[in-house]
């Protein structure tokens, strides 16, 4: 931990390279990022070779943004949200409404959904972040379902389209020219790459360090006088913004807002992607998103509607046997070949509660709750 602090605190010159790089980006990062960018940008080509189709690449990139943001909350901070559909769906609806009623240009749509998601995230954060663990998961799930119920309600039907979703949107344009499928893909990819850079920098930044400390031991952090709630809120909001961005892009990719964007299944899908790919690794959830959509679109052609059942079984098996997800598979393989791997804590540890919670528990005289 101290090593990370020093590196980020010192900044400036990075050992071994003669040039001054931004504090939080090392040469290794640059290599990773270039490889990542090439992999993403060439996806339409190699995905087709794997049996996919070009448009699937856009969808994968969008979901990858969603999963990446989710990992900032779950992987870095240790909060399992079951309500990220609330942000994805809200942004999708706001973008849809803007495209329908305001302008076909995507910039005002995205700006508007950015603001709305920010407000929603702050409100939900205030309500849910005072709890951790199980409580947080249940509450986020409940409030997302509330948003879903509200959108489907007969009162809002005139605006949201009710069960049919929001249809009849203008085809999205940018600066007056209509967006082609290709340009949508490159916009999404650029945002994914930028989002990945941001997430990597965030992970190494002092803020990221705080978030990881929250995951490790929130109570101890609180004892040192840190305003833990503010950091949790920051992680929650950043994560929600990624989800909102993805929701917005989804509607730009396919000008139609499905009600399922707000449904718990969307939250569930992002959870599944992250866990399958490897929580806390940033690249894992991105890979998980690709795997899941590939599975949905390509494997479905072979086994039909049962792909969801198979996916569920794979998910359960991974939770049981490989809590680190596919990212761990790579590490295990590397180790088997004689490579050296740094030990990494599997999955999310139990979060100790707040100081207040602990004090009350001590008064009751039972401390066994935190033993595992």
């Amino acid at each position: 931990m101290s090593e990370v602090t020093e590196r980020s605190a010192l900044g400036g010159k990075v050992a071994g390279i003669g040039v001054r790089l931004p504090t939080l980006l090392t040469r290794r990062d640059l290599v990773v990022l270039v490889v990542f960018a090439i992999a993403v940008l060439t996806m339409p080509t190699w995905l087709v070779a794997l049996g996919g189709y070009e448009a699937l690449a856009t969808k994968i990139v969008i979901w990858a943004i969603f999963a990446l943001g989710f990992d900032i909350l779950l992987g870095l901070t240790g909060y399992l949200s079951f309500g990220h559909a609330a942000f994805f769906g809200t942004a999708a609806y706001v973008t849809g409404l803007s495209l329908k009623h305001l302008s076909a240009d995507i910039l005002p749509a995205m700006a508007l959904s950015f603001v709305v998601v920010l407000v929603v995230a702050l409100a939900l954060g205030v309500l849910t972040l005072r709890r951790s663990g199980i409580y947080f998961a249940i509450l986020t799930l409940a409030f997302a379902e509330m948003a879903h119920a509200l959108v489907l309600s007969s009162t809002l039907q005139k605006w949201t389209g009710g069960d049919n979703g929001l249809t009849g949107l203008a085809s999205p344009s940018l600066f007056g020219s209509r967006l082609s499928d290709h340009s949508v893909f490159y916009i999404c990819s650029a945002l994914l790459i930028a989002g990945y850079v941001f997430a990597r920098v965030l992970r190494r930044s002092p803020l990221g360090l705080m978030l990881r400390s929250i995951k490790e031991n929130q109570m101890r952090l609180e004892y040192t006088g840190v305003n833990v709630f503010a950091y949790k809120m920051a992680a929650f909001v950043v994560s929600a913004m990624y989800a909102g961005l993805a929701g917005s892009l989804m509607v730009i990719y396919e000008p139609y807002v499905a009600t399922k964007y707000l449904y718990w299944s969307t939250s569930g899908e992002v959870v599944i992607m992250s866990v399958i790919g490897g929580v806390g690794t940033l690249i894992g959830p991105i890979f998980g998103a690709g795997f899941m959509l590939y599975f949905e679109n390509v494997v479905q052609a072979f086994i039909g509607e049962q792909w969801k059942l198979l996916l569920g079984i794979i998910f359960v098996a991974i939770v049981i046997f490989l809590p680190g997800g596919f990212a761990d598979l790579g590490r295990l393989g590397w180790k088997a070949m004689g490579g050296v791997v740094r030990s990494r804590r599997h999955n999310v540890p139990d979060m100790p509660g707040s100081v207040e919670e602990d004090r009350r528990r001590r008064q009751r005289g039972d401390l066994e709750e935190d033993d595992d």
Binding site: L80, F82, R131, I134, A142, E145, V271, Q306, K308, F315
Partner: protein, 324 residues
Amino acid sequence: MTINSIFLMLVTGLQLGAIYALIATGLTLIFGTLGVVNFAHGALYLIAAYAAVVVSNELGFGLAIVLVPIILFVVGIAMERGLIQFFYRRPHTDQILVTFGLAIVVEELMRWIFGANNIPFALPAWGSGQVLFYGLGAVVPEAIPGLRIPMPFVNGFVFFPAWRLLLIIVTMLTIVALFAMLQFTRFGLVVRAGMRDPEMLRFLGVNVTQRFAIVFGLGALIAGIAGVFGGPVTQVSPPVGMALLVPSFLVVVIGGMGSMFGALLAALLIGMSLSFTTGFAAAAGDPLLKDILTALQQIVIYLVAVVVLLIRPRGLFGKKGVFE
């Protein structure tokens, strides 16, 4: 708003609360003793509802009432022994994830076997029809069939579906039986002790593991009862499990996690708030008011949860210090 419609709203509220109460009781039982939040509890309800349809079609409804809870008890024990027990030592998030995954697997399995649509659940002859409540001095025409129950303050007479009334009664009996078991039997004593301090219980030489498997089975059994009697009311289709699980979670949270009595009260609160907003929305004359009430009806259970959690974060009867 007449006295009769208020009476009907009360009974409807009881009926809506009844299903949530049954599912939430099972959740609370499992959470309180085992510390596991069972995201697959809605899936247990789903299994029960489908099992009830199959058994009642093949062997008659009477047997379904007996068999389905037993089947679910076995399913519950199998689930605990086969999967959940390996997760007691794992983080809470893993427990949530694995039960969530299981819920998806069950839902998809049901979709595969029985199709995505609602399958009809025929009521037995003795349970269909309406029950009639009549007030003082009401003249009820002889021609109207069905059970008649005197209800002094009702003006004239009102009808209520017999099956829904049965659901309320069955729920009450189930919960009374459960409370009696927890309060007056040796097994119940051990379970209650386990809810307070499982470690101490283990030190005292009680085989906690074996009993906890039974507790999980019991939670599943209650979901089984809910499935048999609730199935005809809720629908029998794959999404029903999750649709019931979310409000039941809220019931548990509002009541205070781990508190049985709190869960009951919260279920009642949610049932009533649902039935009253629906009733008022239906009765509202002003279109704007009607619109607002209809929207309110969709989200009222969440609003109740928000209010309770803001005022009393640990829930109505939450134990001090537990998930506060």
